[in-house]
Symmetry: C2
Subunit: 332 residues, 2 copies
DNA sequence: TTGTATGCGTTATCAG
DNA sequence: CTGATAACGCATACAA
């Protein structure tokens, strides 16, 4: 059966809707007996307040939205699980959307969530954003937003990220210590925050160990799977790298696959490290070493900040940037 | 700036709200000049109708919901992509929820979506459902629901599934033809439709080839990762299987991992086949043969049926069950 | 302690 | 052709 309303209850009990409303909300100025009658009847009729009516009235929905580029990406699905853990605990359903790396989808998603009055938004920017002008109007509106993983440059925002510089540095240094001299870096579009930070870590490690930064060994890739293959292919043919550092979650796998195809019969002395949360890295052949982001913690922390913001529990505290450490898993 | 309303427009143009409303909806009985003024002003002010107000009024939201056990599961994320493809094309945003295999979460998700007046629901049942009594009340309400993958037994429902029987049959037969005699089957909880169908395919293939069905070679697993490991472990120790057929998407990987650990140093003449859409099966070591479900097509088809139902494009057509073929990928 | 009236943004009905 | 009004379900300021 669908919905019994406050009005039905009022009619049945021969009292006014406002009395019912207040009884249900446990208002202090209501007679205990009336309150009891109302509550019991509501219970019996399985009354549930209509959240749409509430949203219309109060301009909020007691739910939050999250937008990620792709849920199929392990990092994002883990982050979402972290978000849901906190949000559910605090009574907020989480509405999930994918931008599929498309700015246009991202814009549509944001608008949809905003118009539906989600109380706040968690977002990891799509790969095709140039800036966050499409988020400006929401910001001006004081719409609570927390960015995670792929964040904007502005200081005027809450951000939760992994220590991308450190992760890339550790990965590169590990390769150097293994004796690698020509370490290729295949990474995501240069517009992304993660790309820049990881690139900086990569270069810094090379410099620290006195190795030259060779731009020929660096490739930026978009989101077509073939791009990784093309990059790997051209690198193997012309640059003779002795190691690959793959700079993003999705690329790690695309590159791994392309490498496997390309490297058939080639000497196996090329070492791979991927910046990825791929759950099967240890089961691959050859084994894939990884820089793993604390995805669940990132999700949790982002959700905490957002909910505190929504519930006004951070009065005065300004914008916050949280950086969480990464983990280097060396295989074998 | 948030939202300019129809009322603001009316005030600005010195006409009534109803005129504005009709002008905006291009009602026939409105003066062309007025219509133009209104439309242009609305455009200029970037007016967007408030979907919450519309939902309250019309008892629908022009959006659909989807509930899956886990988005991290490749099959489900692919299915969701199929759903989104169709839904976006037809102008319906897709709201994604996870049940995490928990009946209680499933119930909460359904209620949330229903109360928010999504126009319909796509759902793959959680592993802990016993029946669909928690969906009965919605059914009685004529709330459009399409089940996919994990479907209920009732005939009174739309269902879109892979041909699980055929997939399991092909997988098992392939192992038999390879000369395997003691084929173990590790599978999901027996309450799930997919479990039963795959089990039937497995047994049928054995029977066709004159092999006995040994219950000792069959293990049902829940959703704790350790369960797969325990099953593999006990099988290897006591039953000497010469092949494994893993009956569900998630289990395929859990089992693969457990097998790799357990089988260290054992003869490599055990062959594995997994019922899974795992995108990295071909990159694993040892190579994992797979039965692959047409996840995207399943998602597309389910969305089509749901939207046709919502838009009343299937007047008279009763409940439909669509079965799509699977693909057996043999590696190597 | 309870009831009445109003408004949230929109559309539909009914008058004019 | 246009305007006033009720209604969707709820909360609340104001009356009583």
């Amino acid at each position: 059966m669908s919905s019994v309303t406050i009005k039905d209850i009022a009619r049945a009990l021969n009292i006014s809707v406002s009395t019912v409303s207040r009884a249900l909300r446990d208002s202090y100025d209501i007679n205990a007996g009336t309150k009891k009658r109302v509550v019991e009847y509501a219970e019996k009729m399985n009354y549930r307040p209509n959240p749409i009516a509430l949203s219309l009235k109060e301009n909020k929905s007691r739910s939050i939205g999250v937008i990620v580029p792709e849920i199929a990406n392990t990092f994002f699905s883990q982050a979402i699980n972290g978000i849901e853990e906190i949000a559910c605990e605090r009574g907020y359903p989480v509405v999930i959307f994918q931008s599929h790396e498309l700015l246009e989808r991202e814009i549509a998603n944001i608008r949809h969530l905003f118009e539906r009055r989600v109380d706040g938004l968690l977002i990891s920017l799509s790969g095709s954003h140039k800036d966050i002008s499409h988020l400006e109007e929401y910001r001006r509106n004081n719409f609570p937003i927390v960015y995670f993983d792929r964040v904007p440059e502005t200081a005027e925002a809450h951000k939760v990220v992994a220590d991308n510089f450190e992760g890339a540095f550790k990965a590169t240094e590990h390769l150097i210590i293994r004796g690698k001299k020509r370490i290729a870096h295949i990474t995501s579009p240069p517009t992304l925050s993660i790309t820049q930070e990881r690139m900086a870590g990569y270069k810094s490690a090379l410099q620290k160990h006195g190795l030259p930064v060779r731009e020929e060994l660096i490739r930026y890739c978009g989101f077509r799977p073939e791009e990784a293959a093309e990059a790997i292919c051209s690198l193997l043919e012309t640059e003779r790298p002795d190691a690959f550092f793959m700079g993003s979650d999705r690329l790690a796998l695309d590159c791994f696959e392309a490498y496997k195809k390309q490297a058939q019969g080639r000497p196996e002395d090329i070492t791979l490290v991927g910046f990825t949360n791929l759950s099967v890295a240890h089961l691959l052949e050859p084994p894939l070493s990884t820089v793993v982001q604390p995805a669940i913690s990132i999700g949790r922390k982002a959700a905490e900040i957002l909910l505190d913001e929504i519930e006004n529990k951070r009065r005065g505290k300004g914008f916050e940037t949280v950086v969480l450490g990464t983990e280097l898993n060396i295989r074998p």
